[in-house]
């Protein structure tokens, strides 16, 4: 896998895209910090966040939310940065939780039948 950007570089791009979305919406633009919650502190709506994610995919060429990170786990600017950092890391295919659960039930069934 190609080497990705550094955390600082990612942070700069992400903050720029958030700032752009806030500018388009109008009103005051607060300073953007890593701990800021996207919806709470920054006031990003779902549409704002959709625009930010679309812009980031276009700028960075990766989409961490298709397989690696559930978008619902992203609360803050730092979470967003972490999600994109993960997208650049080599990653194992995620285990299918449904399959794991089915295998566990099958094991239990066999154990009960054997008893």
């Amino acid at each position: 896998m190609a080497e990705g950007p550094t955390r600082a570089e990612l942070e700069a791009v992400i903050c720029e895209k958030i700032r752009m979305a806030l500018e388009e919406r109008g009103g005051d633009i607060p300073a953007i910090r890593g701990a800021d919650t996207l919806n709470g502190a920054l006031g990003l709506s779902s549409l704002d966040l959709a625009i930010v994610v679309a812009e980031l995919e276009s700028a960075l060429g990766v989409d961490p939310f298709s397989r690696i990170v559930p978008i619902t786990s992203v609360r803050s600017v730092d979470d967003l940065i972490e999600a994109y950092l993960k997208a650049y890391l080599p990653h194992e295919p995620e285990a299918d939780e449904g399959l794991v659960e089915a295998a566990r039930r099958a094991r239990d069934r066999r154990a009960r039948q054997g008893a």
Binding site: S46, L49, A50, I51, V53, S58
Partner: protein, 450 residues
């Protein structure tokens, strides 16, 4: 040999010009004589009524004559054009083509026989009642093209009553229901078909000027290219009386620009589908996107904002897909419409709707706004998957002159802010150099996949 009513009609027009090809005039007498030669050629090659014949080419004299000869010979005709040449083999298999007549750009031809028995029940039904057939392939770019099987005699019926015809430019291709409708309308009413070597704006405008074209049947995309190219100002188009447009929604900005540039021309929206035929239409006025659908041979109704049509010229069915008609013969066009009394306005295909967090966006509405922005030559809007809102609006834009991409995107978003709801504003903007349409001058939204 039985005399077909159309053959008699063509003979009656005598020395009138029928076809202009490479600036050479073919009279109705020439055309009638060539049709006779072709009918003899069909007989010589054992091409009996009911045989499926592919006519591969453009509107050259021999191709037109061969098509009409096959029609009068009660053949099942499969018109194919070079724009779909890569798919010919597959199309011919689907249509069970027994004979293919290919015409080159010099109107030279060769005939190939294929060992394919006609087995499809819809084609067998046409053969049993000795009706000429027509097979049209959809131009959709996703999946296999659907083959509509039509009874050609039903399509032809509307041309029996005599009506005025004019000097018409053959813009829509011969494998398109609109192109065939134009050809048959003009020839059965004594008008002139003028062909061009290509469909570039300057070529079309030069032909309009040289041949005093009165009717240009075309598409909104071509009309936009006409405006962008500036070809209108380089040619005298005063002969034009009527421009008809269809096949895709017309942006109001394009209609306004055409109306302003050609104020003496009546602009009329057409509506037709290969599954149904061409409906008679009446535009409220030249600058209006509202149209009334005629009732002769057609019925229509609106169900949940979608246009449904029942037609006497409807196809018998698809050769390679289940019948799309309901039990009462109604066809869901998938076109979303607005209604104002007797008039409707076509908003776009239901399948092209973009769903942004539950809010529906018509690509045509957004494209219309983008096309009003300075330096935008063309714009195509489509859906882009998004983890937050399901989909967002994405736009591919072609610029007329170089501009800093980031500055342009800011300018575009600012422009949209006052004209569109925020969820309709493109979240993703890509500047592209390539054309947004294919040879048919119809916008290709599938090409706008991000």
């Amino acid at each position: 040999m039985d005399r077909h009513w159309l053959a008699q009609r063509l003979r009656d027009w005598g020395s009138r010009p029928a076809l202009v090809w490479r600036d050479l005039r073919w009279s109705y007498r020439d055309l009638d004589r060539t049709i006779g030669v072709w009918r003899a050629e069909l007989e010589r090659n054992g091409i009996a009524p009911g045989a499926v014949v592919a006519i591969c080419g453009d509107y050259s004299p021999n191709a037109c004559a061969a098509l009409l000869a096959c029609l009068m010979n009660d053949n099942i005709i499969v018109p194919l054009t070079l724009s779909s040449a890569r798919g010919w083999e597959r199309m011919m298999q689907t249509a069970e083509v027994g004979y293919a007549i290919q015409f080159d750009s010099d109107d030279q031809w060769r005939l190939e026989a294929h060992d394919r028995p006609v087995t499809h029940p819809l084609l067998r039904a046409l053969i049993e009642r000795r009706a000429p057939g027509l097979i049209l392939f959809s131009s959709g770019s996703t999946g296999e093209a659907k083959a509509s099987a039509l009874d050609f005699s039903r399509i032809l019926e509307k041309f029996i009553p005599e009506r005025p015809a004019c000097r018409t430019l053959a813009f829509l291709l011969m494998d398109h229901i609109g192109g065939l409708n134009t050809l048959l309308h003009v020839l059965s009413h004594g008008g002139v078909i003028v062909t061009t070597p290509d469909r570039k704006p300057d070529t079309i405008c030069a032909a309009i000027e040289a041949h005093r074209i009165e009717l240009l049947p075309t598409t909104p995309t071509f009309l936009r290219m006409l405006m962008i190219s500036g070809a209108i100002s380089r040619h005298d188009l005063k002969s034009l009386k009527l421009v008809t447009y269809g096949t895709e929604p017309m942006p109001s900005s394009t209609l306004a620009a055409v109306s302003e540039s050609l104020p003496w021309v009546r602009l009329k929206q057409t509506y037709g589908l290969s599954e149904l035929g061409i409906l008679p239409t009446f535009s409220r006025d030249s600058g209006s996107l509202w149209l009334k659908l005629g009732r002769a041979g057609f019925e229509h109704r609106i169900v949940d904002g979608v246009l449904w049509i029942r037609s006497g010229t409807a196809m018998l069915g698809y050769l390679n897909a289940p019948s799309p008609f309901d039990a009462d013969g109604w066809f869901n066009t998938q076109d979303l419409v607005e209604v104002d009394g007797d008039f409707i306005r076509i908003l776009g295909r239901k399948s092209e709707l973009i769903n942004v967090a539950g809010e529906k966006v018509h690509p045509a509405e957004v494209e219309d706004v983008l096309l009003q922005l300075d330096n935008v030559g063309d714009a195509t809007v489509s859906a882009k998957a998004n983890p937050v809102t399901g989909q967002v609006v994405a736009a591919k834009v072609t610029l007329m002159r170089p501009e800093d991409p980031e500055a342009f995107k800011r300018r575009l978003r600012a422009f949209c802010r006052d004209r569109l709801d925020r969820y309709k504003t493109p979240a993703l903007i890509e500047i592209v150099a390539e054309a947004h349409h294919g040879e048919r001058f119809k916008k290709s939204r599938s090409a706008a996949t991000f």
